[in-house]
């Protein structure tokens, strides 16, 4: 039963994605143009990168609402250290290190201190962005080396492939393997399905959770680097409000909010679907206000469709059994 439902969810989102692509390319001239496809990828790059971390957390049965704030803090530190004279590679490492540290703090508060992750990360959401604010104040740093600011914005050679895409594909394959083909991934799913049974199965639940929180922080740091260069801006309110989009992307991709269920490809499809629909509507000059509504409807369809399909199937089976 459950397995079938999960399957349907993944398929339903893939079908919706295909439908959107066909419909979009039929109704607009340049939806499938190289520049637009590249923009869909680059517009969603930070969300995808952060979602790769957050999906592991949601599968664990935890959540991190502070990812966008970590992005901002990392980005601010990148700009701040670069402005203070650090070489760019060091500034980038600082950004990722700050992200990692923030993630670790979240994990420590949740596991060692024993606070709920939702409450904790609502707190650190304010805290991390607040620190970014405190450090940078009204400053914005935007003089970065050309090579780096082109990254994410430019494409590889004359192709339509944005430079950030290989990074995302690499991460995507890596995380898919990690989640679906390694003991680590299995343990992640197991903890989400039953933390108590996982303990009895010899999983070090606390350590596992800290690791996942920490690398979610790291991924947010990476997203911070991409964001900084994509907009050529390091400032405290970078990426504000992205946390809900990251979570919507995961849910759209079939990750169960109760933990224990989720796939990487589902999430990638979820992110692409949101990005494609937005791009389509923008090209059709449907204004942003309607786009908000469509995002919501999409979320509803993605959860309701598999349930309705299953209900219909079950009713059919019952009718057959009766006869």
């Amino acid at each position: 039963m459950k397995l079938k439902l999960r399957f349907s969810w993944d398929t339903s989102i893939l079908i919706i994605l295909a439908v959107v692509w066909v419909a979009a390319s039929l109704t607009t001239d340049n939806f499938l143009s190289s520049i637009n496809v590249s923009q869909i990828f680059s517009n969603t790059s930070e969300i995808t990168i952060m979602a790769f971390g957050v999906i592991f957390l949601i599968i664990l049965g935890e959540i991190d609402l502070s990812v966008a704030s970590i992005l901002a803090l990392g980005s601010s530190m990148l700009g701040w250290s670069y402005a203070k004279g650090a070489p760019i590679w060091l500034a980038i490492i600082i950004c990722m290190a700050v992200g990692t540290l923030c993630g670790f703090i979240n994990g420590w508060l949740v596991t060692k201190v024993g606070l709920g992750s939702l409450a904790v990360t609502i707190g650190t959401l304010a805290l991390y962005r607040g620190i970014a604010n405190g450090i940078l104040g009204t400053n914005t740093i935007n003089e970065f080396p050309e090579f780096w600011t082109g990254f994410g914005f430019d494409t590889i050679g004359t192709s339509f492939i944005p430079q950030s895409l290989p990074v995302i594909i690499l991460f995507g394959i890596g995380f898919a393997l990690l989640l679906h083909n390694t003991p680590f991934g299995r343990r992640t799913l197991a903890i989400g399905q039953s933390p108590e049974a996982a303990r009895f199965a010899g999983v070090n639940v606390v350590r596992h959770k800290i690791i996942v929180f920490t690398f979610t922080g790291f991924m947010s740091g990476v997203a911070g680097v991409i964001y900084t260069f994509r907009f050529s801006t390091a400032q405290a309110d970078n990426g504000i409000g992205l946390e809900l989009l990251v979570i919507s992307a995961c849910l759209l991709g079939g990750v169960s909010i109760f933990g224990g269920i989720g796939t990487i490809w589902g999430v990638i499809a979820g992110v692409l679907l949101a990005g494609s629909v937005e791009s389509w509507l923008t090209l059709r000059e449907i204004n942003a206000q309607w786009r908000t509504i469509v995002t919501g409807i999409l979320l509803l369809i993605s959860v309701a469709a598999p349930v309705l399909i299953n209900k219909a199937k079950a009713a059919k089976v019952r009718a057959e059994n009766k006869s």
Binding site: R186, A190, E196, F200, G260, I261, V317, N321
Partner: protein
């Protein structure tokens, strides 16, 4: 009010399919007032499915059911409750955040005017617990209750409903002798009040002690229905399993080696104090005692699930780090926990994922898991324990209770442990397979493994163990060798043993 002997419930040709699997292929059952009716069958025979149809959890695909002279309304637990049916499910499902009193009376709380009368609910619950001989605090939260105590609350809940037909799906699986006796007294009084009880159990001695009728099922169909006088143990077993079973506890004499596990003065003041014993290679040591005597807690402490305050655990002479199942597993200790749903299994995960969970080393290449090896591993254990499922990729929650228990055993035996701790290993397992499990445990001991077995079933304890350690209220009260041990001695020690021992 029904008269004794009135037909209360009749099921005819009842069918049920789950996807491709056929659980019931036309089962008959008729129950009369003032009768205790046992429903027997192998694991997966369809007993729980029958009861769940009556409980309104499942809807039958075919056949007819009538309650008294009215057709039975299927489809919702609520409808069943309204038709006078109360259920004790095989798997207790309490509201862990609520108090015990609330768990008993949820949805039927006594009212005073417009408000719930909490005082009355609590005193009523306390009365029910006392009747069952387990004085639980009705104001206590259900969280943290042992599986046996949970079962007691479930029983109290069913009794409080004041129903005409009471379905009991393995209510005694988690209980020890004295609670079972209390429950039997309660069942008899229900019978005297002209109610009907359907009783499912794999403990056949109990069945013969209390039932009036015995219906045996096999592969989803009724095989026989007899008054208890009209049949006997061997016949029932043959009808269930399809073959003769000569020996239930096939004890073999093993070569006993050095001390493998040494427990010294283990104390966790809330649960047990100064527990010392050893288990040697090739030896089976049983921990006996009443429900709540703290046996499971000792096992949990050894395996590192809980921390203990003082004392030590030594494995082959080396100290074992406390509070770390990872360390325990590194020393090749395995613990088959008592609560399969919460502790033993990942219910929504597939059968093969459950079985491979502790054996990644066996199914792993350099970095990645090898799914082929994983399937092969599952297949091996399906054969060894004759686990019944439709496909490896099905979630374990779709397995019957007994087959779930086998899966838990399989996943731990698959780790090939040196020290095997089993907590109620045969809970809910049918007679045929029980013998298989006992053989497996014996074989493990034969290979030189040390086995620590917790069991509430006395025949199992007496039949299997080389030594028996008896606990009472968190203290070790006696240690008996295989030759010394008798049923009377064990019960006496468990109920009245002096704590100083």
């Amino acid at each position: 009010m029904a008269q004794k002997g009135d037909l209360l419930l009749q099921m005819k040709g009842v069918q049920k399919r789950f996807g491709g699997a056929i659980a019931l292929r036309g089962t008959d059952l008729s129950i009369r007032a003032g009768e205790i009716h046992a429903l027997l069958g192998e694991n997966g025979a369809g007993k729980s499915t029958m009861l769940k149809i009556l409980a309104g959890v499942h809807v039958n695909d075919g056949g007819t059911i009538s309650i008294g002279d009215k057709p039975f309304t299927t489809g919702s637990p609520q409808a069943s409750i309204e038709q006078g049916i109360a259920v004790i499910y095989q798997e207790p499902s309490l509201f862990l955040d609520l108090t015990l009193a609330e768990n008993v009376f949820i949805g039927r709380q006594p009212m005073k005017g417009v408000a719930i009368d909490w005082a009355q609910a609590q005193s009523e619950a306390a009365r029910l617990f006392a009747e069952l001989g387990v004085p639980l605090d009705p104001k206590r939260q259900a969280r943290g209750l042992s599986i046996a105590d949970q079962q007691v609350v479930e029983i109290a809940k069913a009794l409080s409903m004041n129903a005409n037909i009471i379905l009991m799906d393995e209510p005694t699986a988690a209980l020890s002798a004295s609670e079972v006796e209390r429950l039997m007294t309660v069942m008899k009084s229900l019978k005297a009040a002209n109610k009907a009880v359907i009783f499912v159990s794999h403990r056949l001695d109990e069945v013969f002690a209390i039932s009036d009728y015995i219906t045996v099922m096999r592969d989803g169909a009724t095989v026989s229905e007899n008054p208890v006088g009209g049949t006997d143990l061997q016949k029932v077993i043959k009808e269930m399993v399809g073959r003769e079973l000569t020996e239930l506890f096939p004890k073999t004499e093993n070569k006993i080696g050095d001390v493998a596990l040494e427990i010294k003065d283990l104390t966790n003041p809330a649960y047990f104090r100064n527990i010392s014993f050893t288990v040697r290679h090739g030896e089976i040591v049983a921990l006996a005692g009443l429900v709540g005597s703290g046996r499971s807690e000792v096992a949990r402490a050894i395996f590192g699930i809980d921390k203990y305050t003082t004392g030590s655990v030594k494995v082959n002479g080396k100290d074992l780090a406390k509070g770390s199942p990872v360390a325990a597993m590194a020393e090749k200790i395995a613990l088959v926990p008592e609560d399969r749903r919460q502790q033993g299994l990942f219910m929504i995960a597939s059968v093969n994922r459950n079985i491979s969970m502790e054996s990644f080393d066996r199914i792993k290449g350099k970095i990645f898991l090898n799914f082929k090896k994983e399937r092969a591993l599952t297949e091996i254990w399906r054969e060894k324990l004759s686990i019944k499922y439709e496909a490896q990729s099905n979630p374990v929650e779709s397995l019957s209770g007994g087959n779930q228990q086998k899966t838990v055993l399989a996943k731990w035996l698959a780790t090939d442990p040196d020290i095997l701790i089993v907590d109620e290993p045969t809970r809910g397992i049918d007679v045929g397979t029980k013998a298989e499990v006992h053989k497996l445990i014996n074989a493990a001991a034969g290979e030189g493994k040390a086995v620590l077995m917790i069991s509430s079933e006395l025949p199992e304890v007496l039949g299997m163990a080389d030594r028996i350690i008896i606990m009472r209220e968190g203290h070790k009260v006696a240690e008996l060798s295989r030759l010394e041990a008798t049923q009377e001695k064990v019960i006496a020690a468990a109920t009245t043993g002096s704590k100083g021992a």
